[in-house]
Symmetry: C4
């Protein structure tokens, strides 16, 4: 599955730009991990443990954006041409990615307070919207087959389609869990990131086969 030079040039700038946003968003997350301004002397160790909520939120958002990066890579191995709509849909996706550090910070600060449910619902709401954007982008590309490489096989396309169709549902379910246990809901989000990374048959075969 090799791209022609011309095709490659078309999506290259879009991919590089998106990679930049993924990388920056992932790196900015750390700015939201904060210790209290005043720590009683001799209790730094406790304080470092006490912010485990921040670590969990950091880790979950990092993993989710990281897996999005892998998936972005994957679908733009199949999508070889861009048009105005693809550019716009990709910008919508990036809007979601750049927004993520905000709900992440909201979760980190509120997950043990009375507002934990609200915070985690907001977090999962963001993920749901992002998952919908992925779905729309992908469906647009599939329906406009001239945007896809000619050598792209049906099975790869259907595999991706199936995975993305269910994406929003997963995050709505995860959001539902927040009503019972906010922490469990975030842990499910973390597991979802791992889940979206693992069964990547299409991508795997592509990159290891000669």
């Amino acid at each position: 599955m090799t791209r022609t030079a011309e095709e490659s040039e078309e999506t290259t700038r879009l991919e590089a730009f998106s990679d930049g946003i993924f990388a920056i968003a992932m790196t900015l997350l750390v700015l939201e991990i904060r210790l209290p301004e005043e720590i009683p002397p001799g209790t730094l160790g406790d304080a470092l443990l006490h912010v485990w909520r921040s670590y969990l939120a950091f880790l979950t958002s990092f993993a989710t954006i990281g897996v999005m990066w892998v998936n972005h890579h994957r679908i733009f191995n199949l999508i070889r041409r861009t048009d105005q709509a693809i550019l716009t849909l990709n910008l919508l996706l990036m809007l979601g990615v750049t927004f993520l550090p905000f709900p992440t910070a909201v979760v980190a600060r509120n997950i043990r307070s009375v507002d934990a449910r609200t915070a985690v619902l907001f977090y999962n709401g963001t993920f749901t919207v992002i998952a919908i954007c992925w779905g729309v982008l992908w469906r647009y590309a599939v329906r406009n087959r001239h945007l896809m490489g000619k050598d792209v096989d049906e099975r790869s396309v259907r595999g991706v389609s199936r995975q993305y169709a269910l994406g929003p549902l997963y995050y709505i379910v995860a959001g539902g869990v927040a009503l019972v246990s906010p922490v469990s809901s975030v842990v499910i989000d973390l597991l979802l990131a791992i889940f979206f990374a693992v069964p990547a048959r299409v991508f795997h075969r592509q990159s290891t086969s000669p």
Copy 2:
């Protein structure tokens, strides 16, 4: 409209550098969305709704920078060579882009206060200056035709020229609206971003035609 390898190399580093600045500026915007330090327990939901001004400013600036990225892509499909002046004019443009998170934050914090007009005038002032920089950069390239690709057709050039000539005017008008209704002025800025993205005939044809 294919570039020669030599031409491509000349603008590649400028484009990659500019893309980096676009991506970082877009991602930094989120740092300006902030909840109040102290939220009464149980009112997180209200607080998250209450910062809609921040969301509006975030969205408008994100959309504007995103559309600038698309337009930058577009004109550097026509401009194929760089000289010292192009580099300098491009740096001026980047100066405006990197400055944007500041007026965005000013708008977000003041749009419902007595200072709303001032804030939105400052915001539109920044957009106007940026639009002027675009115009100057583009006119310089058009007047020095050796910087443009030989296969670039007159109609594409004239299309872009017309669009950019009016850019500053649009933002001055949007600024005028701020005197009556600051929020409407920001909404107009958001619509302008969408407007600058949509009628992109030149770019569209280029990327979809073989």
Copy 3:
């Protein structure tokens, strides 16, 4: 040791993405250098000297990430293909890199307090985990030789393997020193960064030989 075009394309996006994260993490470090909010008039000079702890932490983390960038470059001159596992292991590595500004800030703020030991142990703990990630990534690539270039010679591979096997140990020892003298421990971390940069025989030969 030249790559084929196909091989090059496979690792290019991974390398560009990682470079982005290295660059952003290095640049964000400066945000942690902060003067006290209130400085008595006429004492700015003293205040600038007084934050030497921040400079030391900034310098050490900068040097360590910088040398990681060089090493990343180095091993991806040998690794020419990617698979799902390499992508995931690389993301784990990036997780460590993006996390670093946090322990750096913890060290900067606490290195002269009662909590200095805790802070520096936390700092070295992070370095140890990162060093383990490097080791795992490298070992995975070595055991799956189809990921390496065919012209990669055994000596280069063994040289890198030896260096990485000891990495975590060095940082555990540096952590141990923190129990006696936290400042010395950070200085050792700085020297370790220089040490990891200098004996780079493999890389050096590659890039200077024709």
Copy 4:
């Protein structure tokens, strides 16, 4: 003056990485422009004017890093190969660039206080160290001619050498002016950035000649 593909690949990753750092450092500068937390209602306009010191510092640092980017581009058009020393010297240069937002903030906050001299001396001290790094990097490359392209002509090399030899001196003089007038010293720094951009004969000829 065309590079061979092999040569190009060698410096490409170094240039992309450095461009990333330039772009991020330039974009982070805006985070240091801050209005006072509490602004009396109706005085936003005054507050926006009052931070002109921040604008001046922002503009000067932006221009200086922007011109460094142009110069970096320029010398790596002449330097075509890298070795361990070039990588290390380039990292030192990047250390200076990533550090710049800190002295910029110090200047912005203190330029009208009793501490203005100290702040501007610190600022110019940073520029001087960066200028020395440029000189060392360039001299190393000139002395190791196998790192330069074979078709690089003596005049280009000597032109760059002359310009860089005087760099540190200019900034020491600008620092001296700070003893009399801190604001003038910053204005001189801004003019120096413009000066370093303008007489770029070497680069100019390269990029406009076919």
